[in-house]
Symmetry: C2
Subunit: 468 residues, 2 copies
């Protein structure tokens, strides 16, 4: 099918391509208040799919959902010194409520460590209550001066987990369990996004945490996107909120805590990982629509045959959409391409006469004529193949565009097109010199690729890149 490109090519202007995709695939638009976002139904369906898969994994890790208030008294934020220093410049503040000026301003939560600890300190009594594992799905607000849809918005949606443990080891183990079994597993298995896991430097750590671990993904332009983080909070918040428990030996001890979150930012990450010049490419496991059955022209029974096929696929558990709309075929085909539906089945009178459909794989753009009656068994296999192929492609790109650098200059050079690995000089000048060139240390890793527990472990590798 001959068609004009409706998007700015990635190679020409990647940020413009991203904005074009947002509009043309009807994913999201800017809200009326600066930095806010309207998530349109197709964009929401992607997030809803992510939520379901992440939520299941969080529950498998033993955490329970709960909900804490949007408004936090300003004084709560001030209790943890590093925390307030980190978040103060980003706060939205409610000063008036119910027609009156408030005695104490309320902060719209930028994250909920403070308010949740105020309750943990009441709920937690003894070691028998541990671990205390809580998660919430919520909106948070961090004032954003350079907003970008999904990637950096003043209001965003996320889950934030907050836990209490009896020892530092228990807390650290749980933070890493979330990093690997929930986040990394979801990103790789469901959305096909390969991630580099590692430890953040002190400079990049969450405000108030002892350690932060991260999942970093390489986008289509070689830049890094932080996809999710898991923090060891130590006893920092427990001490200021007096979150204590009675140990088995009858002593009072401050709880050891973690917090961790992933957000609507992952939708942006998905798009920039798999998208191409024709639009999104959504991995089948996440795709709200896995197969679209497209009637080319509703003549000679093509419409009925397409409807019957769509029904059959749906009955087989395939998320299928029938498109027999009264609009030009080409325009409709482009729309499904933009939305990244993994498989398009096109049926017209000519196909039908031959008992076939034209099958188009969105990931490769390949078309083939295929017998109609084989589709119900063929489609599930094909969706599996596409799922693997998308992950594989992203993995390949990440490998191809990651270089080993011997010097800072080589690392900066490597970060022009992707990631660079360079020996970490804990306490040295590396990070500062990179930052001067708008390159950052995305994370620290051990030689074997596992995640370090501290930045001063010997022989660590820094993975550096430009980042969103």
């Amino acid at each position: 099918m001959a068609k004009k490109s409706v998007l700015t090519p990635q190679s020409e202007d990647f940020p413009q391509w991203y904005q074009d995709v947002m509009a043309k695939a009807e994913l999201a638009e800017n809200g009326p208040a600066r930095g806010t976002m309207v998530i349109r139904p197709y964009g929401w369906a992607l997030w809803e799919g992510m939520q379901a898969e992440v939520d299941r994994r969080i529950k498998d890790a033993g955490a329970q959902n709960a909900y804490f208030p949007l408004f936090i008294p300003e004084s709560y934020l001030h209790k943890e010194a590093e925390h307030v220093e980190g978040f103060s410049p980003e706060l939205a503040v409610v000063t008036h409520g119910g027609g009156k000026k408030l005695d104490e301003p309320l902060v719209v939560r930028p994250t909920s460590e403070t308010v949740i600890n105020a309750y943990f300190s009441k709920w937690l009594q003894s070691y028998r209550d541990l671990p205390l594992l809580i998660n919430q799905w919520a909106n948070v607000v961090r004032w954003e001066l350079r907003p970008r849809l999904f990637l950096r918005t003043t209001e965003f949606l996320w889950q934030e987990g907050h836990t209490c443990h009896a020892s530092e080891d228990d807390a650290r183990d749980y933070a890493l369990r979330i990093l690997h079994d929930v986040y990394e597993n979801f990103m790789v298995e469901v959305i096909g996004v390969p991630v580099v896991t590692g430890l953040k430097t002190a400079n990049e750590r969450f405000a108030g945490a002892d350690q932060t671990w991260t999942c970093e993904a390489m986008m289509g332009d070689g830049k890094a996107l932080q996809m999710g983080t898991s923090h060891l909070l130590g006893q920092n918040f427990a001490k200021v909120f007096d979150t204590q428990f009675l140990t088995e030996t009858g002593e009072r001890e401050y709880a050891w805590q973690t917090s961790w979150g992933v957000s609507t930012r992952m939708v942006g990450g998905l798009i920039m990982t798999h998208g191409d010049d024709a639009g999104l490419r959504v991995p089948p496991k996440l795709a709200p629509i896995q197969v679209v059955v497209l009637v080319v022209r509703d003549e000679d029974g093509a419409g009925d045959a397409a409807a019957a096929l769509a029904k059959q696929l749906k009955a087989g558990g395939i998320r299928t959409e029938l498109d027999n709309r009264d609009a030009p075929f080409g325009r409709r085909a482009v729309e499904w391409e933009l939305k990244g539906v993994p498989v398009r089945l096109e049926i017209g009178p000519r196909d039908l006469a031959e008992g076939t459909a034209t099958m188009v794989r969105r990931d490769k753009g390949e078309k083939e004529s295929t017998p109609l009656d084989g589709l119900p068994t063929r489609i599930p296999q094909l969706l599996d193949e596409i799922q693997k192929a998308l992950h594989q492609q992203a993995q390949q790109r990440q490998e191809d565009r990651t270089v080993d650098a011997a010097t800072v200059d080589e690392a900066i050079d490597g970060a022009r097109t992707g990631f660079a690995r360079i020996k970490w000089d804990n306490g040295g000048e590396l990070e500062k010199r990179l930052n001067q060139e708008s390159v950052s240390v995305r994370c620290l890793r051990r030689q074997d690729g596992s995640v370090p527990l501290a930045t001063d472990e010997p022989d660590l590798v820094a993975v550096v890149a430009r980042a969103y």
Copy 2:
């Protein structure tokens, strides 16, 4: 099992009973900012179950989920005169963001008609785009001077549907479809709460709507709770936001709109409908835990037998919890009673020796000894019975406590213990006289029980009550 009551009896002080249940069943507590609420895991699980069931019905009614910003420019609220008049006293206002005073204050959404219309007016082009059916799950804020957990909180969670249609009839039909097929169906079938559906008087209408329909339920104390509403907005918002479409004949016309919502308030309604002096009674279809297998004493293999039974029930699709905690049996039994788990299966060494378990129905408090090996087939039937019994009891109470009143005084008298039905005098003094006695018109109905389309239809019946 002999035990002391842990709750204030309903007959003694119903509001205190409700507060006791909130605390003892670990459902929710007050947040730090006035009127806000912390929803604890068990309370959240009830809401999560409601969300899933309501969401499915909304999607079946053709609406798609999306998300609009929390912050609305103050000027948006002012566009619809009745709307701003209704909501102004309840607004929370953000005046500072990112460390600076804002040029225009932002209102924390009390509802989203205004911001959503700002986008509908961009998205809606022609009659081909209609109906446009959007829903969002979100938090909203309405400043609350007399907060009560779940029932009336400054921040609450809800879904709000917003739709555009080509004609007033289409819009009205859809508003009523939501009322009956989504809300009433969910309330009756899933949470076993019988509801009286009807039309709100002009006085009780949503600020900015032409008509409001409602689902009203009778609580355990005979008072009414508004469980959900569906509004015909007419063209009121469309006109001020210029939400127009091109008709089939090429003219521009304002869209006809609806909006509709149910909230976390339903959790309160569930509790006050089915709860008794021992705590919650959760209908099996909603219950996060349908069956708890309780080890009386872990001796002579009772713990293993209980674990095996729990596993077997889970495999059969029953939401089952095993309780073999190291705590006194009586205290654990009371806890499950408080939480309203429909069926308790108690297994101790004595039961096990006889190949039985003690089965306790939460709705009736009845205990019986029952053979272990029959349970996997018996439990699903029992859960069905309990579901029906809870609905039936609530239905019976509603009938018993609803009187036909010939005079206003009789209606006021009837409202002391329940609902009263009285002939509606559109434009007359009835509503005013009732309100003076803290009784309100919950809704108007036709003689045959169907919902009226306007308050001036002949021969309407007003259902009146005291209300939450």
